[in-house]
């Protein structure tokens, strides 16, 4: 047993190193391409969204892959992160002029709010066994979207104005400013996100999750996933560790939301960006990339964000091809026959590699 553990730690350290090196290498390559002007506007525009979805996928992977609980409301945490950070940015825009400081404050606000919501949801739900977390997070994602759509907050010389469902109740003076305007969401958010910020956030998220899963707490979390009764019998506080993993997972998703909100000048809670479909999309990144593999999550998020955009040349067929590729990838990764076939190939591959090495 001890031997096995030792082996897995070694492998995980290597794994960790490769993932972080991969992110840094990609970052350097991209920076060189941008500097030499050989990168198209489309690709440059996609850099931040790719970071955003990678971060959220890392967050969800912690929940699905290590905690073993299914969450289908991570877009909801993204939404919380996006709106609370954009709200703070709008509020402080006039007083803090340094973009980096402003972004850091907004980041803290977004992450903390997402963590708070994750914590609050986790308290009752994570005490239960079974698929309750999936059900509750699904509901949470829908609720938060609808709540934001009826929330009106404005600020003028008289102070703050709040209204729910009836924005007409707020009469603003001329220099007044809408902070959240119901379905219109938040507009005129300064562009504070950048690829560099995104990569730094990915690296921070990776450091956090790798350190967590390789720590004592991480082993406790995985023990709960593998055998709850056994974990309980050795004195692991189930609720505490579950809550810890889920809150961190939500907080990381919140960070993705912060990046999302500050990349576009407007953020609205629509089914397309923070709805059920987006939650499923993030789950697809995690499942395709391999549950428990953070590197896989990043690669899947990047590829699947890129795919529909680079297929633009195919006009209306692109969504069709995109879904076929999804199905093909899913089969390739998970179908028993495919796994068998890949194992055969894998053996060959490894032998070849050895030969080459010799």
């Amino acid at each position: 047993m001890a031997k096995l553990n030792l082996k897995s730690i070694k492998k995980s350290t290597r794994d960790q190193f490769i993932t972080i090196a991969m992110v840094i290498v990609v970052y350097i390559i991209v920076q060189i391409l941008v500097a030499t002007g050989s990168m198209s506007s489309l690709m440059q525009g996609l850099l931040v969204p790719m970071c955003t979805y990678s971060i959220v996928a890392i967050g969800l992977n912690l929940c699905v892959g290590y905690l073993g609980e299914l969450s289908i409301g991570h877009a909801g945490f993204m939404c919380v992160g996006a709106f609370s950070s954009a709200f703070v940015t709008k509020l402080l825009e006039g007083t803090i002029t340094n973009g980096i400081v402003l972004f850091l404050i907004a980041l803290c606000a977004g992450v903390l709010m997402a963590a708070l919501f994750g914590f609050l949801i986790g308290i009752p739900v994570l005490r239960l066994r079974g698929d309750y977390l999936a059900i509750v997070t699904l509901a949470f994602g829908e609720i938060i979207k609808n709540v934001i759509n009826v929330l009106y907050i404005a600020k003028d010389t008289d102070g703050f104005h709040f209204a729910i469902s009836n924005g007409n109740a707020i009469k603003l003076s001329d220099e007044g400013m809408w902070l959240i305007n119901g379905a219109k969401g938040i507009v005129k958010i300064p562009h504070l996100s950048s690829f560099t910020a995104g990569v730094i956030l990915i690296l921070i998220a990776l450091l956090i999750v790798y350190n967590l899963v390789n720590s004592r707490s991480g082993r406790a979390i995985m023990a709960i996933r593998d055998n709850r009764i056994a974990a309980e019998s050795v004195g692991i506080n189930i609720t505490k560790f579950k809550l810890m993993a889920f809150t961190i997972s939500a907080a990381i998703a919140g960070a993705g939301g912060v990046l999302y909100a500050h990349n576009l000048s407007t953020v609205t809670a629509t089914p397309a960006n923070f709805g059920y479909n987006m939650s499923i999309m993030i789950l697809v990144f995690v499942v395709l990339g391999g549950m428990g593999s953070f590197r896989g999550s990043i690669i899947a998020a990047v590829l699947l964000t890129l795919l529909p955009e680079v297929l633009r040349g195919l006009a209306d067929y692109r969504m069709l091809i995109y879904s076929i590729v999804l199905i093909a990838m899913m089969l390739f990764n998970w179908a028993p026959k495919c796994i068998e076939w890949r194992q055969k190939l894998g053996v060959k591959f490894r032998r070849n590699a050895k030969k080459e090495a010799v």
């Binding site: 390559i29 990168m39 198209s40 440059q44 219109k184 590197r295 633009r312 209306d316 390739f332 894998g346």
Partner: protein, 413 residues
């Protein structure tokens, strides 16, 4: 190793897919196919592929107009209409000798009515060499894209994004009414013609368009002495059953129900109101246009429905008829108001370009400055209005038209 293999194969799949996109620098593809390093370089190859090094450079012989709108997803009907109608206008202009003697190229990109995808579409059009943007079709993406065009100085004319948030920048103009305009005009129209004193409103609180019109309608109604007896909202997630909202309107004694919503939901409301035997006057705005084309909808129920729209497909003027018959011939449907707005938008760009005397060899930013300057001094007669003019704010001024549905067709009031 399994994982590594899957990564390599997926990456290979991506590369083959993108081989068709051309312009790949090739150097990144000679990466060693080993473990994570392969994954890293492959995704770099992915970002690298499709890179057009001379982004945005025009070849100087044609004007390149880009369009953005949803051609897939929930709002696809609007984006498709805009795409088709704009293409008709571009073909007509090219057949008649182009703009200032130069031919026009038009390319339309899908954004699924999502802000992030819209920005991607914009960037992709920039790579194509777009000089002027006719878009976007829907409001929220338009706000995001307007921010990008402002940074690039690109001229932008939206056919149908009606929020005032869209036109805060100097380079963005609208071909359609703003939401506040529609709400105010509707309230004034109802009051001036004495249509009703007790009015109920059913609107989509999750839609920027609908809630925007609703807010100004309610505000103006108070000034006009109209009593709002019920203000009922629904959201995009619950738009199949409106019996609660209708019952509230009925029990509040509303004589007129104002529906600042799109026609799909409006057709359900009309059917359900008929089912409960509630027969108020229904009053809609431009989103209601198209209600007669809804499948499985009994158009008799729409008899007497009034709507404020700049365009009616069966208007008898020559321009409208020519456009409608051409659209039907090419695409098989009756064009809606979005199509008319887009058709006009292309001609508005033409008018502005001719006024400014621009040539295609100018950069997008120079063109943007010249066209924005010219917009305030042109007057365009189009399908959606006679003598349309623009203020520097980007807002169009044209007279709203109210039509009523009579014998299964729109009739002017």
């Amino acid at each position: 190793m399994k994982k590594a293999l899957s990564v390599v194969v997926t990456a290979a799949m991506m590369t083959t897919l993108m081989a068709g996109c051309g312009d790949s620098n090739g150097d990144a593809q000679s990466a060693p196919a080993a473990d994570g390093a392969a994954a890293g370089t492959e995704s770099a190859a992915a970002s690298d592929a499709g890179a057009a090094s001379d982004a945005g450079a025009a070849d100087g012989t044609t004007f390149k107009i880009g369009g953005i709108g949803p051609t897939t997803g929930d709002a696809a009907i609007y984006g498709t209409a805009v795409m088709n109608a704009a293409q008709i206008a571009v073909d007509e202009i090219n057949a008649a000798g182009g703009i200032n003697g130069y031919q026009v190229e038009f390319k339309f990109e899908d954004d699924q009515s999502d802000a992030e995808k819209s920005v991607n579409a914009y960037n992709s059009l920039k790579d194509w060499g777009m000089q002027m943007l006719m878009g976007t079709v829907t409001t929220t993406p338009c706000v995001a894209v307007a921010d990008m065009t402002a940074a690039d100085g690109m001229f932008q004319l939206t056919p149908s994004a009606s929020s005032t948030d869209v036109i805060v920048n100097d380079n963005v103009f609208q071909a359609c009414f703003t939401d506040p305009n529609q709400g105010t005009a509707s309230a004034q129209y109802i009051a001036e013609n004495g249509l009703a004193t007790k009015v109920a409103v059913i609107y989509d609180s999750s839609s920027v368009y609908s809630s925007g019109i609703e807010a100004t309608f309610v505000e103006e109604a108070a000034n006009q002495g109209i009593e709002i007896v019920a203000e009922e909202a629904f959201t995009a997630d619950s738009k199949t059953d409106f019996s609660t909202q209708l019952q509230k309107a009925q029990s509040a004694g509303a004589e007129l129900v104002f529906l600042p919503i799109y026609y799909t939901e409006a057709s359900i409301i009309l059917t359900q109101a008929d089912g409960m035997g509630y027969e108020p006057t229904f009053f809609g705005v431009d989103g209601m246009d198209g209600i007669l084309g809804v499948e499985n909808f009994n158009t008799e129920l729409a008899e007497g429905v009034m709507l404020l729209t700049p365009f009616a497909a069966d208007a008898d003027d020559e321009a409208t008829q020519a456009f409608v018959s051409k659209y039907q011939e090419l695409y098989g449907d009756v064009p809606n108001q979005f199509a008319a707005d887009a058709y006009d938008a292309i001609y508005i760009i033409k008018a502005a370009a001719e006024q400014a005397g621009v040539t295609p060899d100018m950069s997008a930013a120079d063109l943007g400055a010249a066209l924005s300057g010219a917009m305030t001094s042109i007057s365009v007669d189009g399908l959606t209005g006679e003598g349309m003019t623009w203020q520097a704010t980007g807002e169009v001024s044209k007279a709203p038209k109210a039509v009523v549905i009579k014998d299964g067709a729109y009739a002017a009031m």
